[in-house]
Symmetry: C2
Subunit: 316 residues, 2 copies
Protein backbone atom coordinates (compact mmCIF):
# COMPACT_ATOMS: atom_id res chain seq x y z
CA UNK A 1 0.00 0.00 0.00
CA UNK A 2 1.32 3.42 -0.92
CA UNK A 3 0.16 6.86 0.13
CA UNK A 4 1.25 10.29 -0.96
CA UNK A 5 1.70 12.81 1.83
CA UNK A 6 1.83 16.51 0.96
CA UNK A 7 3.02 19.05 3.53
CA UNK A 8 2.14 22.58 2.43
CA UNK A 9 4.17 25.30 4.12
CA UNK A 10 4.57 29.03 3.59
CA UNK A 11 8.01 28.51 2.03
CA UNK A 12 7.80 25.12 0.33
CA UNK A 13 5.52 22.23 -0.52
CA UNK A 14 7.06 18.89 0.45
CA UNK A 15 5.74 15.61 -0.89
CA UNK A 16 6.60 11.99 -0.19
CA UNK A 17 5.48 8.54 -1.20
CA UNK A 18 5.00 6.49 1.93
CA UNK A 19 4.27 2.84 2.65
CA UNK A 20 2.03 1.45 5.41
CA UNK A 21 4.95 1.31 7.85
CA UNK A 22 5.65 5.00 7.47
CA UNK A 23 8.79 4.52 5.39
CA UNK A 24 9.23 7.38 2.95
CA UNK A 25 10.33 5.81 -0.35
CA UNK A 26 10.93 9.09 -2.15
CA UNK A 27 10.47 12.74 -1.34
CA UNK A 28 10.56 15.98 -3.30
CA UNK A 29 9.79 19.61 -2.68
CA UNK A 30 8.89 22.75 -4.60
CA UNK A 31 8.76 26.42 -3.56
CA UNK A 32 5.31 27.67 -2.49
CA UNK A 33 4.02 30.48 -4.71
CA UNK A 34 2.30 31.79 -1.60
CA UNK A 35 0.82 34.92 -3.15
CA UNK A 36 -0.35 33.30 -6.41
CA UNK A 37 -3.86 32.10 -7.27
CA UNK A 38 -4.52 28.74 -5.64
CA UNK A 39 -4.86 27.06 -9.06
CA UNK A 40 -1.20 27.75 -9.74
CA UNK A 41 -0.22 26.21 -6.40
CA UNK A 42 -2.46 23.20 -7.15
CA UNK A 43 -0.86 22.74 -10.55
CA UNK A 44 2.62 22.81 -8.93
CA UNK A 45 1.43 20.17 -6.47
CA UNK A 46 0.11 17.98 -9.28
CA UNK A 47 3.45 18.22 -11.02
CA UNK A 48 5.16 17.21 -7.75
CA UNK A 49 2.83 14.21 -7.35
CA UNK A 50 3.38 13.09 -10.92
CA UNK A 51 7.16 13.27 -10.45
CA UNK A 52 6.88 11.20 -7.25
CA UNK A 53 4.87 8.57 -9.10
CA UNK A 54 7.32 8.57 -11.95
CA UNK A 55 10.53 8.21 -9.88
CA UNK A 56 8.96 5.46 -7.79
CA UNK A 57 7.72 3.61 -10.88
CA UNK A 58 4.13 3.78 -9.64
CA UNK A 59 0.89 4.50 -11.35
CA UNK A 60 -1.89 6.58 -9.81
CA UNK A 61 -3.83 3.30 -9.46
CA UNK A 62 -1.20 2.04 -7.00
CA UNK A 63 -1.94 4.90 -4.64
CA UNK A 64 -4.32 4.46 -1.69
CA UNK A 65 -4.81 8.18 -1.34
CA UNK A 66 -3.28 11.63 -1.09
CA UNK A 67 -3.20 13.42 2.27
CA UNK A 68 -2.55 17.13 2.79
CA UNK A 69 -1.33 18.91 5.92
CA UNK A 70 -1.97 22.66 5.61
CA UNK A 71 -1.42 25.54 8.07
CA UNK A 72 -4.59 27.42 8.96
CA UNK A 73 -8.29 26.76 9.35
CA UNK A 74 -9.22 23.66 7.43
CA UNK A 75 -12.70 22.22 7.01
CA UNK A 76 -11.70 18.60 6.67
CA UNK A 77 -15.26 17.36 6.13
CA UNK A 78 -16.02 19.70 3.25
CA UNK A 79 -12.44 19.40 1.96
CA UNK A 80 -11.94 23.16 1.99
CA UNK A 81 -9.04 25.35 3.12
CA UNK A 82 -11.06 28.04 4.90
CA UNK A 83 -8.16 30.34 5.62
CA UNK A 84 -4.40 30.15 5.83
CA UNK A 85 -2.32 32.92 7.44
CA UNK A 86 0.74 32.65 5.25
CA UNK A 87 -0.60 31.49 1.89
CA UNK A 88 -3.20 33.07 -0.38
CA UNK A 89 -5.81 30.43 0.46
CA UNK A 90 -9.34 31.63 1.23
CA UNK A 91 -12.16 29.12 0.83
CA UNK A 92 -10.15 26.88 -1.48
CA UNK A 93 -11.97 23.62 -2.40
CA UNK A 94 -8.70 21.75 -2.68
CA UNK A 95 -10.14 18.23 -2.50
CA UNK A 96 -12.43 18.99 -5.44
CA UNK A 97 -9.51 20.59 -7.31
CA UNK A 98 -7.37 17.46 -6.80
CA UNK A 99 -10.20 15.22 -7.96
CA UNK A 100 -10.14 17.00 -11.31
CA UNK A 101 -6.64 15.59 -11.77
CA UNK A 102 -7.09 12.27 -9.93
CA UNK A 103 -10.81 11.40 -10.10
CA UNK A 104 -10.65 8.05 -8.35
CA UNK A 105 -8.12 8.70 -5.60
CA UNK A 106 -9.06 9.37 -2.00
CA UNK A 107 -7.98 12.87 -0.94
CA UNK A 108 -7.94 14.00 2.72
CA UNK A 109 -6.90 17.34 4.16
CA UNK A 110 -6.33 18.68 7.62
CA UNK A 111 -4.55 21.33 9.61
CA UNK A 112 -0.80 20.61 9.75
CA UNK A 113 -0.67 20.31 13.56
CA UNK A 114 -3.64 17.92 13.50
CA UNK A 115 -1.93 15.87 10.79
CA UNK A 116 1.34 15.80 12.74
CA UNK A 117 -0.51 14.57 15.85
CA UNK A 118 -2.17 11.80 13.88
CA UNK A 119 1.14 10.93 12.23
CA UNK A 120 2.73 10.34 15.64
CA UNK A 121 -0.06 7.88 16.51
CA UNK A 122 0.28 5.99 13.22
CA UNK A 123 4.03 6.05 12.58
CA UNK A 124 5.75 7.57 15.62
CA UNK A 125 6.28 7.53 19.35
CA UNK A 126 2.54 7.64 20.12
CA UNK A 127 1.67 4.36 18.36
CA UNK A 128 0.08 2.85 21.48
CA UNK A 129 -1.25 6.11 22.87
CA UNK A 130 -5.00 6.69 22.85
CA UNK A 131 -4.99 10.27 24.14
CA UNK A 132 -2.35 12.64 22.85
CA UNK A 133 -1.74 16.36 22.62
CA UNK A 134 0.78 17.48 20.03
CA UNK A 135 2.13 21.00 20.49
CA UNK A 136 4.28 22.65 17.81
CA UNK A 137 6.52 25.49 18.95
CA UNK A 138 7.33 27.20 15.67
CA UNK A 139 6.48 30.53 14.04
CA UNK A 140 3.18 30.08 15.86
CA UNK A 141 1.89 27.51 18.35
CA UNK A 142 -0.27 24.75 16.92
CA UNK A 143 -2.04 22.01 18.84
CA UNK A 144 -3.26 18.66 17.56
CA UNK A 145 -5.56 16.68 19.81
CA UNK A 146 -6.16 12.93 19.72
CA UNK A 147 -8.99 11.61 21.90
CA UNK A 148 -9.45 7.87 22.14
CA UNK A 149 -7.35 7.34 19.03
CA UNK A 150 -9.26 9.84 16.92
CA UNK A 151 -8.43 13.35 15.80
CA UNK A 152 -10.50 15.93 17.65
CA UNK A 153 -11.23 19.00 15.55
CA UNK A 154 -14.19 20.61 17.28
CA UNK A 155 -17.52 21.47 15.76
CA UNK A 156 -17.08 22.37 12.05
CA UNK A 157 -13.36 21.45 12.35
CA UNK A 158 -12.96 24.88 13.94
CA UNK A 159 -11.58 23.88 17.35
CA UNK A 160 -8.26 22.53 18.64
CA UNK A 161 -6.79 26.04 18.54
CA UNK A 162 -4.85 25.64 21.77
CA UNK A 163 -2.32 28.26 20.63
CA UNK A 164 -5.13 30.78 20.84
CA UNK A 165 -5.99 30.42 24.50
CA UNK A 166 -5.08 33.36 26.69
CA UNK A 167 -2.52 32.63 29.42
CA UNK A 168 -1.81 36.30 30.27
CA UNK A 169 -4.95 38.47 30.31
CA UNK A 170 -4.18 41.88 28.71
CA UNK A 171 -0.75 40.56 27.70
CA UNK A 172 1.17 40.58 24.42
CA UNK A 173 -0.80 41.15 21.23
CA UNK A 174 -1.53 37.98 19.24
CA UNK A 175 -2.08 37.59 15.49
CA UNK A 176 -5.62 36.38 16.24
CA UNK A 177 -6.67 39.77 17.61
CA UNK A 178 -6.63 38.87 21.31
CA UNK A 179 -3.99 39.74 23.86
CA UNK A 180 -1.99 37.24 25.88
CA UNK A 181 -2.43 34.02 23.86
CA UNK A 182 -0.26 30.94 24.51
CA UNK A 183 1.15 31.50 21.00
CA UNK A 184 2.22 35.06 21.89
CA UNK A 185 4.43 33.66 24.70
CA UNK A 186 5.49 30.17 23.61
CA UNK A 187 6.16 30.43 19.86
CA UNK A 188 9.68 30.75 18.44
CA UNK A 189 8.65 34.27 17.43
CA UNK A 190 7.83 35.06 21.05
CA UNK A 191 11.12 33.57 22.30
CA UNK A 192 13.03 35.78 19.86
CA UNK A 193 11.11 38.81 21.21
CA UNK A 194 11.86 37.77 24.81
CA UNK A 195 15.55 37.28 23.91
CA UNK A 196 15.72 40.74 22.27
CA UNK A 197 14.22 42.37 25.35
CA UNK A 198 16.78 40.67 27.61
CA UNK A 199 19.65 41.74 25.33
CA UNK A 200 18.44 45.35 25.50
CA UNK A 201 18.59 45.18 29.29
CA UNK A 202 21.88 43.26 29.59
CA UNK A 203 24.65 44.84 27.51
CA UNK A 204 27.19 42.21 28.65
CA UNK A 205 25.17 39.06 27.99
CA UNK A 206 26.74 36.27 25.96
CA UNK A 207 23.57 36.31 23.86
CA UNK A 208 24.88 39.37 21.98
CA UNK A 209 28.03 37.71 20.63
CA UNK A 210 26.13 34.52 19.81
CA UNK A 211 23.55 36.51 17.85
CA UNK A 212 26.32 38.44 16.08
CA UNK A 213 28.06 35.18 15.08
CA UNK A 214 24.85 33.92 13.49
CA UNK A 215 23.89 37.30 12.08
CA UNK A 216 20.55 37.28 13.92
CA UNK A 217 18.73 36.53 17.15
CA UNK A 218 16.99 33.17 16.86
CA UNK A 219 15.05 30.77 19.06
CA UNK A 220 18.41 29.07 19.81
CA UNK A 221 20.27 32.18 21.06
CA UNK A 222 19.04 32.12 24.67
CA UNK A 223 19.25 28.31 24.97
CA UNK A 224 22.87 28.31 23.73
CA UNK A 225 23.95 31.16 26.02
CA UNK A 226 22.16 29.60 28.99
CA UNK A 227 24.04 26.34 28.38
CA UNK A 228 27.27 28.36 28.62
CA UNK A 229 26.19 29.70 32.02
CA UNK A 230 24.94 33.15 31.00
CA UNK A 231 22.60 34.40 33.74
CA UNK A 232 20.40 36.69 31.63
CA UNK A 233 19.94 33.90 29.08
CA UNK A 234 19.06 31.42 31.84
CA UNK A 235 16.33 33.81 32.99
CA UNK A 236 14.94 34.04 29.45
CA UNK A 237 14.95 30.26 29.06
CA UNK A 238 13.43 29.60 32.49
CA UNK A 239 10.62 32.08 31.88
CA UNK A 240 10.00 30.73 28.37
CA UNK A 241 9.80 27.19 29.74
CA UNK A 242 7.31 28.40 32.33
CA UNK A 243 5.12 29.86 29.56
CA UNK A 244 5.23 26.63 27.57
CA UNK A 245 4.63 24.74 30.82
CA UNK A 246 1.57 26.79 31.79
CA UNK A 247 0.05 26.19 28.36
CA UNK A 248 0.63 22.45 28.33
CA UNK A 249 -0.57 22.01 31.92
CA UNK A 250 -3.74 23.87 30.92
CA UNK A 251 -4.25 21.38 28.10
CA UNK A 252 -3.43 18.48 30.43
CA UNK A 253 -6.02 19.65 32.97
CA UNK A 254 -8.67 19.72 30.25
CA UNK A 255 -7.78 16.53 28.36
CA UNK A 256 -5.57 14.53 30.77
CA UNK A 257 -3.81 12.79 27.87
CA UNK A 258 -1.27 10.02 28.46
CA UNK A 259 1.30 11.93 26.45
CA UNK A 260 2.12 15.45 25.30
CA UNK A 261 4.54 15.62 22.38
CA UNK A 262 6.49 18.79 21.68
CA UNK A 263 7.36 19.48 18.04
CA UNK A 264 8.36 22.48 15.93
CA UNK A 265 11.74 24.21 15.70
CA UNK A 266 12.16 24.86 19.43
CA UNK A 267 11.74 21.15 20.22
CA UNK A 268 15.24 20.62 18.80
CA UNK A 269 16.57 21.96 22.12
CA UNK A 270 15.78 18.44 23.37
CA UNK A 271 16.34 17.66 27.05
CA UNK A 272 17.09 21.31 27.92
CA UNK A 273 13.44 21.95 27.07
CA UNK A 274 11.72 18.62 27.69
CA UNK A 275 13.10 17.71 31.14
CA UNK A 276 12.08 20.97 32.86
CA UNK A 277 8.68 20.76 31.13
CA UNK A 278 8.14 17.28 32.58
CA UNK A 279 9.12 18.59 36.02
CA UNK A 280 6.68 21.51 35.64
CA UNK A 281 3.92 19.12 34.56
CA UNK A 282 4.50 16.79 37.52
CA UNK A 283 4.39 19.72 39.93
CA UNK A 284 1.49 21.70 38.50
CA UNK A 285 -0.94 19.28 36.87
CA UNK A 286 -4.28 19.14 38.71
CA UNK A 287 -4.84 16.53 41.40
CA UNK A 288 -1.60 14.62 40.93
CA UNK A 289 -1.63 13.86 44.64
CA UNK A 290 -4.48 11.44 44.13
CA UNK A 291 -2.80 8.83 42.03
CA UNK A 292 -4.17 10.24 38.81
CA UNK A 293 -2.24 8.99 35.81
CA UNK A 294 0.91 11.02 35.14
CA UNK A 295 1.05 13.05 31.94
CA UNK A 296 4.31 12.38 30.08
CA UNK A 297 6.05 15.11 28.09
CA UNK A 298 8.34 14.04 25.25
CA UNK A 299 9.92 15.39 22.10
CA UNK A 300 8.02 14.60 18.91
CA UNK A 301 9.58 11.66 17.11
CA UNK A 302 8.97 12.23 13.41
CA UNK A 303 10.93 15.53 13.30
CA UNK A 304 11.83 16.56 9.75
CA UNK A 305 9.39 14.22 8.04
CA UNK A 306 6.53 14.93 10.44
CA UNK A 307 4.68 16.98 7.80
CA UNK A 308 4.77 14.32 5.08
CA UNK A 309 4.02 11.43 7.47
CA UNK A 310 1.25 13.36 9.20
CA UNK A 311 -0.36 14.15 5.85
CA UNK A 312 -0.03 10.50 4.81
CA UNK A 313 -1.61 9.32 8.07
CA UNK A 314 -4.84 11.15 7.16
CA UNK A 315 -5.46 8.43 4.57
CA UNK A 316 -5.18 5.51 7.02
CA UNK B 1 -39.57 5.22 34.39
CA UNK B 2 -38.25 6.76 37.61
CA UNK B 3 -34.75 7.77 38.57
CA UNK B 4 -33.35 9.06 41.82
CA UNK B 5 -30.94 11.96 41.49
CA UNK B 6 -28.67 12.81 44.43
CA UNK B 7 -26.79 16.10 44.50
CA UNK B 8 -24.05 16.02 47.16
CA UNK B 9 -22.84 19.44 48.27
CA UNK B 10 -20.62 20.70 51.07
CA UNK B 11 -23.65 21.99 53.00
CA UNK B 12 -26.46 19.63 52.07
CA UNK B 13 -27.37 16.49 50.18
CA UNK B 14 -30.40 17.03 47.93
CA UNK B 15 -32.35 14.13 46.48
CA UNK B 16 -35.23 13.93 44.04
CA UNK B 17 -37.32 11.32 42.30
CA UNK B 18 -37.46 12.19 38.62
CA UNK B 19 -39.38 10.84 35.63
CA UNK B 20 -38.08 10.45 32.07
CA UNK B 21 -39.21 13.98 31.15
CA UNK B 22 -37.15 15.52 33.92
CA UNK B 23 -40.11 16.32 36.15
CA UNK B 24 -39.14 16.13 39.80
CA UNK B 25 -41.99 14.34 41.60
CA UNK B 26 -40.62 14.79 45.11
CA UNK B 27 -37.48 16.23 46.58
CA UNK B 28 -35.86 16.21 50.01
CA UNK B 29 -32.60 17.30 51.54
CA UNK B 30 -30.42 16.58 54.54
CA UNK B 31 -27.38 18.38 55.99
CA UNK B 32 -24.00 17.02 54.88
CA UNK B 33 -21.89 15.71 57.75
CA UNK B 34 -18.88 16.85 55.76
CA UNK B 35 -16.23 15.92 58.31
CA UNK B 36 -17.70 12.53 59.28
CA UNK B 37 -16.64 9.12 58.04
CA UNK B 38 -18.10 8.48 54.60
CA UNK B 39 -20.17 5.56 55.92
CA UNK B 40 -22.20 7.99 58.03
CA UNK B 41 -22.84 10.19 55.00
CA UNK B 42 -23.81 7.12 52.97
CA UNK B 43 -26.23 6.01 55.65
CA UNK B 44 -27.85 9.50 55.67
CA UNK B 45 -28.20 9.24 51.89
CA UNK B 46 -29.83 5.81 52.16
CA UNK B 47 -32.32 7.23 54.64
CA UNK B 48 -33.05 10.09 52.22
CA UNK B 49 -33.61 7.65 49.34
CA UNK B 50 -35.90 5.45 51.42
CA UNK B 51 -37.95 8.50 52.39
CA UNK B 52 -38.22 9.54 48.74
CA UNK B 53 -39.44 6.06 47.82
CA UNK B 54 -41.90 6.06 50.66
CA UNK B 55 -43.50 9.49 49.99
CA UNK B 56 -43.80 8.69 46.28
CA UNK B 57 -45.33 5.27 47.00
CA UNK B 58 -42.59 3.55 45.04
CA UNK B 59 -40.59 0.45 45.67
CA UNK B 60 -36.87 0.14 44.92
CA UNK B 61 -37.88 -2.17 42.04
CA UNK B 62 -39.63 0.76 40.33
CA UNK B 63 -36.37 2.69 40.13
CA UNK B 64 -34.26 2.64 36.96
CA UNK B 65 -31.18 3.80 38.83
CA UNK B 66 -29.60 6.23 41.26
CA UNK B 67 -27.31 8.97 39.96
CA UNK B 68 -24.90 11.03 42.06
CA UNK B 69 -23.38 14.43 41.29
CA UNK B 70 -20.42 15.10 43.59
CA UNK B 71 -17.93 17.98 43.74
CA UNK B 72 -14.32 16.92 43.23
CA UNK B 73 -12.35 14.31 41.34
CA UNK B 74 -14.59 11.39 40.53
CA UNK B 75 -13.58 8.18 38.82
CA UNK B 76 -16.88 7.43 37.17
CA UNK B 77 -15.72 4.14 35.64
CA UNK B 78 -14.53 2.63 38.91
CA UNK B 79 -17.38 4.29 40.84
CA UNK B 80 -15.00 5.95 43.28
CA UNK B 81 -14.88 9.46 44.74
CA UNK B 82 -11.14 10.04 44.43
CA UNK B 83 -11.09 13.35 46.28
CA UNK B 84 -13.50 16.09 47.22
CA UNK B 85 -12.32 19.52 48.39
CA UNK B 86 -15.13 20.24 50.83
CA UNK B 87 -16.18 16.84 52.11
CA UNK B 88 -14.16 14.15 53.87
CA UNK B 89 -14.14 11.90 50.80
CA UNK B 90 -10.84 10.26 49.84
CA UNK B 91 -10.99 7.15 47.67
CA UNK B 92 -14.59 6.38 48.63
CA UNK B 93 -16.06 3.39 46.72
CA UNK B 94 -19.53 4.91 46.83
CA UNK B 95 -21.09 2.77 44.09
CA UNK B 96 -20.06 -0.39 45.92
CA UNK B 97 -21.35 1.09 49.20
CA UNK B 98 -24.74 1.85 47.62
CA UNK B 99 -24.95 -1.65 46.16
CA UNK B 100 -24.78 -3.04 49.68
CA UNK B 101 -28.12 -1.33 50.30
CA UNK B 102 -29.63 -1.68 46.79
CA UNK B 103 -27.99 -4.72 45.18
CA UNK B 104 -29.91 -4.70 41.90
CA UNK B 105 -30.12 -1.00 41.15
CA UNK B 106 -27.89 0.77 38.66
CA UNK B 107 -25.74 3.40 40.38
CA UNK B 108 -23.79 6.07 38.45
CA UNK B 109 -21.59 8.85 39.78
CA UNK B 110 -19.88 11.84 38.28
CA UNK B 111 -18.47 15.24 39.05
CA UNK B 112 -21.28 17.76 39.70
CA UNK B 113 -20.34 20.08 36.83
CA UNK B 114 -20.22 17.10 34.45
CA UNK B 115 -23.61 15.94 35.70
CA UNK B 116 -25.08 19.44 35.30
CA UNK B 117 -23.79 19.60 31.72
CA UNK B 118 -25.35 16.25 30.90
CA UNK B 119 -28.58 17.28 32.63
CA UNK B 120 -28.89 20.29 30.33
CA UNK B 121 -28.60 18.01 27.28
CA UNK B 122 -31.22 15.58 28.61
CA UNK B 123 -33.74 17.85 30.33
CA UNK B 124 -32.77 21.47 29.61
CA UNK B 125 -31.92 24.10 27.06
CA UNK B 126 -29.26 21.98 25.37
CA UNK B 127 -31.59 19.13 24.35
CA UNK B 128 -30.67 19.39 20.67
CA UNK B 129 -27.08 20.44 21.22
CA UNK B 130 -24.31 17.97 20.36
CA UNK B 131 -21.37 20.01 21.64
CA UNK B 132 -21.77 21.91 24.88
CA UNK B 133 -19.58 23.50 27.52
CA UNK B 134 -21.22 24.08 30.89
CA UNK B 135 -19.42 26.55 33.16
CA UNK B 136 -20.47 27.00 36.80
CA UNK B 137 -19.49 30.27 38.44
CA UNK B 138 -19.85 29.42 42.12
CA UNK B 139 -17.48 28.98 45.05
CA UNK B 140 -15.15 27.59 42.40
CA UNK B 141 -15.36 27.35 38.62
CA UNK B 142 -16.42 23.97 37.26
CA UNK B 143 -16.61 22.95 33.63
CA UNK B 144 -18.64 20.13 32.07
CA UNK B 145 -17.86 19.19 28.51
CA UNK B 146 -20.16 17.40 26.07
CA UNK B 147 -18.63 16.27 22.78
CA UNK B 148 -20.91 14.78 20.16
CA UNK B 149 -23.62 14.19 22.75
CA UNK B 150 -21.33 12.40 25.20
CA UNK B 151 -19.74 13.54 28.43
CA UNK B 152 -16.01 14.10 27.99
CA UNK B 153 -14.04 13.36 31.17
CA UNK B 154 -10.48 12.90 29.95
CA UNK B 155 -8.28 9.90 30.48
CA UNK B 156 -9.12 8.21 33.86
CA UNK B 157 -11.99 10.72 34.29
CA UNK B 158 -9.29 13.17 35.37
CA UNK B 159 -9.80 15.91 32.76
CA UNK B 160 -12.41 18.58 32.07
CA UNK B 161 -10.86 20.78 34.77
CA UNK B 162 -11.34 24.01 32.82
CA UNK B 163 -11.44 25.99 36.07
CA UNK B 164 -7.82 25.03 36.58
CA UNK B 165 -6.36 26.53 33.44
CA UNK B 166 -4.15 29.55 33.96
CA UNK B 167 -5.39 32.78 32.37
CA UNK B 168 -2.96 35.08 34.25
CA UNK B 169 0.56 33.63 34.54
CA UNK B 170 1.97 34.37 38.05
CA UNK B 171 -1.45 35.73 39.07
CA UNK B 172 -3.71 35.09 42.07
CA UNK B 173 -3.09 31.95 44.06
CA UNK B 174 -5.52 29.10 43.32
CA UNK B 175 -6.65 26.25 45.59
CA UNK B 176 -5.04 23.79 43.16
CA UNK B 177 -1.54 25.08 43.93
CA UNK B 178 -1.01 27.06 40.72
CA UNK B 179 -1.25 30.80 40.28
CA UNK B 180 -3.62 32.59 37.92
CA UNK B 181 -6.26 29.91 37.26
CA UNK B 182 -9.58 30.78 35.60
CA UNK B 183 -11.21 29.83 38.93
CA UNK B 184 -9.07 32.37 40.81
CA UNK B 185 -10.56 35.17 38.64
CA UNK B 186 -14.03 34.03 37.63
CA UNK B 187 -15.48 32.30 40.71
CA UNK B 188 -17.92 34.02 43.05
CA UNK B 189 -15.10 33.90 45.62
CA UNK B 190 -12.86 35.82 43.22
CA UNK B 191 -15.58 38.38 42.48
CA UNK B 192 -15.98 39.02 46.22
CA UNK B 193 -12.21 39.53 46.49
CA UNK B 194 -12.26 41.93 43.51
CA UNK B 195 -15.20 43.80 45.05
CA UNK B 196 -13.40 44.14 48.41
CA UNK B 197 -10.29 45.51 46.70
CA UNK B 198 -12.39 48.12 44.87
CA UNK B 199 -14.17 49.12 48.09
CA UNK B 200 -10.79 49.63 49.79
CA UNK B 201 -9.79 52.01 47.02
CA UNK B 202 -13.12 53.87 46.68
CA UNK B 203 -14.41 55.07 50.05
CA UNK B 204 -17.49 56.66 48.44
CA UNK B 205 -18.66 53.74 46.32
CA UNK B 206 -22.29 52.63 46.58
CA UNK B 207 -20.95 49.10 47.07
CA UNK B 208 -20.20 49.94 50.73
CA UNK B 209 -23.78 50.77 51.70
CA UNK B 210 -25.12 47.82 49.72
CA UNK B 211 -22.74 45.48 51.51
CA UNK B 212 -23.69 47.02 54.85
CA UNK B 213 -27.40 46.51 54.14
CA UNK B 214 -26.81 42.81 53.46
CA UNK B 215 -24.27 42.43 56.25
CA UNK B 216 -21.57 41.22 53.83
CA UNK B 217 -19.93 41.65 50.48
CA UNK B 218 -21.31 39.07 48.05
CA UNK B 219 -21.09 38.22 44.37
CA UNK B 220 -24.13 40.46 43.87
CA UNK B 221 -22.70 43.63 45.48
CA UNK B 222 -20.81 44.96 42.46
CA UNK B 223 -23.55 43.97 39.97
CA UNK B 224 -26.21 45.78 42.05
CA UNK B 225 -24.14 48.94 42.50
CA UNK B 226 -23.15 48.96 38.82
CA UNK B 227 -26.83 48.78 37.85
CA UNK B 228 -27.35 51.91 39.98
CA UNK B 229 -24.63 53.69 38.01
CA UNK B 230 -21.73 53.40 40.46
CA UNK B 231 -18.51 53.86 38.50
CA UNK B 232 -16.18 51.79 40.70
CA UNK B 233 -18.68 48.93 40.68
CA UNK B 234 -18.99 49.15 36.88
CA UNK B 235 -15.23 48.74 36.64
CA UNK B 236 -15.33 45.66 38.88
CA UNK B 237 -18.14 44.12 36.83
CA UNK B 238 -16.55 44.92 33.46
CA UNK B 239 -13.22 43.42 34.52
CA UNK B 240 -14.94 40.35 36.02
CA UNK B 241 -16.88 39.82 32.80
CA UNK B 242 -13.62 40.07 30.86
CA UNK B 243 -12.09 37.34 33.05
CA UNK B 244 -15.10 35.07 32.52
CA UNK B 245 -15.01 35.98 28.83
CA UNK B 246 -11.33 35.12 28.40
CA UNK B 247 -11.90 31.74 30.02
CA UNK B 248 -14.92 30.82 27.92
CA UNK B 249 -13.33 32.04 24.67
CA UNK B 250 -10.33 29.81 25.52
CA UNK B 251 -12.69 26.84 25.85
CA UNK B 252 -14.50 27.85 22.66
CA UNK B 253 -11.23 27.98 20.71
CA UNK B 254 -10.40 24.46 21.86
CA UNK B 255 -13.82 22.82 21.53
CA UNK B 256 -15.86 25.18 19.29
CA UNK B 257 -19.13 24.02 20.87
CA UNK B 258 -22.48 25.23 19.57
CA UNK B 259 -23.40 26.47 23.03
CA UNK B 260 -21.78 27.56 26.29
CA UNK B 261 -24.12 27.55 29.29
CA UNK B 262 -23.33 29.59 32.37
CA UNK B 263 -24.56 28.22 35.69
CA UNK B 264 -23.76 28.68 39.37
CA UNK B 265 -24.71 31.53 41.68
CA UNK B 266 -23.32 34.35 39.54
CA UNK B 267 -25.42 33.23 36.56
CA UNK B 268 -28.45 34.67 38.39
CA UNK B 269 -27.28 38.11 37.25
CA UNK B 270 -28.87 37.10 33.94
CA UNK B 271 -28.59 39.49 30.99
CA UNK B 272 -26.21 41.82 32.86
CA UNK B 273 -23.73 38.94 32.68
CA UNK B 274 -24.80 36.96 29.63
CA UNK B 275 -25.21 39.72 27.03
CA UNK B 276 -21.72 41.20 27.47
CA UNK B 277 -20.28 37.65 27.50
CA UNK B 278 -21.93 36.95 24.13
CA UNK B 279 -20.52 40.21 22.78
CA UNK B 280 -17.05 39.27 24.06
CA UNK B 281 -17.34 35.82 22.47
CA UNK B 282 -18.41 37.24 19.09
CA UNK B 283 -15.50 39.67 19.12
CA UNK B 284 -12.71 37.42 20.42
CA UNK B 285 -13.42 33.85 19.32
CA UNK B 286 -10.83 32.55 16.83
CA UNK B 287 -11.43 32.90 13.11
CA UNK B 288 -14.99 34.25 13.29
CA UNK B 289 -14.30 36.23 10.12
CA UNK B 290 -14.40 33.03 8.11
CA UNK B 291 -17.99 32.05 8.60
CA UNK B 292 -17.16 29.61 11.34
CA UNK B 293 -20.22 28.72 13.35
CA UNK B 294 -21.01 31.24 16.11
CA UNK B 295 -20.69 30.05 19.69
CA UNK B 296 -23.80 30.98 21.67
CA UNK B 297 -23.61 31.94 25.34
CA UNK B 298 -26.71 31.46 27.48
CA UNK B 299 -27.75 31.11 31.08
CA UNK B 300 -28.15 27.53 32.29
CA UNK B 301 -31.80 26.50 32.27
CA UNK B 302 -32.19 24.01 35.10
CA UNK B 303 -31.13 26.49 37.84
CA UNK B 304 -32.06 25.31 41.34
CA UNK B 305 -32.73 21.72 40.36
CA UNK B 306 -29.67 21.40 38.12
CA UNK B 307 -27.92 19.19 40.69
CA UNK B 308 -30.74 16.66 41.05
CA UNK B 309 -31.55 16.59 37.32
CA UNK B 310 -27.88 16.36 36.36
CA UNK B 311 -27.40 13.44 38.73
CA UNK B 312 -30.54 11.76 37.35
CA UNK B 313 -29.35 12.23 33.75
CA UNK B 314 -26.32 10.01 34.49
CA UNK B 315 -28.69 7.05 34.50
CA UNK B 316 -30.16 7.72 31.04
Amino acid sequence: MYIIGIDIGGMSVKGGIVNENGDILFKLSVGTKATSDYKIIVSDIVELINKLLSISNKDVGDIEGIGFGIPGTIDSKRGVIVYSNNINFVDVPIVEAMHEYYPNVKVAINNDANAAALGETKFGLAKDVKNLIFVTLGTGVGTGIIIDGKLFEGNGSAGAEGGHTVICVDGERCSCGRRGCFEAYASATALVRQTKAAIDKNPKTRMISLANQKGKISGRTAFLAAAEGDKAAREVVDKYIQYVGEGIVNLANIFRPELILIGGGISNEGDALILPLQEFMDKKCYGMINGNPRVLVQKASLTNDAGILGAASLIL
